[in-house]
């Protein structure tokens, strides 16, 4: 088997993988002492909270760079209710999936 590096699909596979790995390694390569200042520590602890919150919003309310409300909104709404009721994690996920799937099939 040969891999034609000029083929756009192979180029995309190799380039995407290479950059993804470099980006992941960068974060792990920053010297520890750079991160030990209290203010940096505080910011560093908040960054994943911001990113994951944004991720939830984008996954729930957007499609192809458009804002939309569909069955996912109901699913995530049920997840929020389960979280407020202190339901265990699998219940949170499954109740969201069941709600969203039910609405999807009714439509």
């Amino acid at each position: 088997m040969e891999i034609n590096l000029l083929d756009p699909f192979w180029l995309a596979v190799i380039g995407t993988s290479l950059f993804a790995f470099i980006l992941k390694c960068l974060g792990h390569s920053v010297p520890k002492r750079w991160l030990s200042h209290p203010r940096i520590l505080k910011i560093n602890s908040l960054i994943p909270i911001a990113l994951l919150s944004a991720l939830v919003a984008v996954q729930s309310f957007t499609k192809d760079s458009r804002l939309i409300a569909d069955q996912r909104m109901a699913g995530v709404g049920v997840a929020i209710v389960s979280l407020i009721l202190r339901a265990p994690f699998p219940v949170v996920v499954l109740s969201a999936a069941a709600t969203s799937a039910a609405l999807f099939h009714i439509q």
């Binding site: 950059f19 792990h28 994943p48 939830v56």
Partner: protein
Amino acid sequence: MSRVNRATAAQSLSVSLTVGAYGIAFGAASVAAGFSVLQSCLLSLLTFTGASQFAVVGVLGAGGSALSGIATASLLGVRNTLYGLRMAPVLNVKGLRRIFAAHITIDESTGVALSQEHLGVKEARQGFWLTGIGVFIFWNIFTLAGALGAQAMGNPAAWGLDAAVPAAFLGLLWPRLISKTDRALAVAACALALAMTPYFVPGVPIISTALLAVFFGLRASLWR
């Protein structure tokens, strides 16, 4: 070897299965976009960050160039750098282990690690490794299944997976939103990312919210 915390293992498995199952959708989307089964599986093995993978097959499937596909995917991968900054001091590993830790530094492993941190550093580490490895296994198996033609199962919406994945991240995040600052930041990040989505290329809205974290972090430390 220390005992694995039961709750941590359960959470890791739940997340791994939920997100891993989404691999079917990726495999199907990748083949539909013109990638071969081998190329689709290599993307899951080597790129191993779902959002970037969907982005690159989306761009090429729509007739875009390899370069723009790589660029879009890489923008989405920047957040893994920020996760690495957060996880490296927690994991505290060197050599080959550090390289492997970097490869599995993704939304899911970071999310579970954060959600277990209140139990202790040991549990946070276990959450990271179990989830990273768990997602890696399931994501790759399901990618192959999707690429081989599980088209009937290819639409994640039919299974509610499109809501299950954000619900899972929300479930990981929820117990972490302890202080007023955390909650305000979470709400602000949701609002900013949504407001930016129609006007910016994918990836930018989410990483931009890191600036909010900087702002909230500085404000919190100045007020104290």
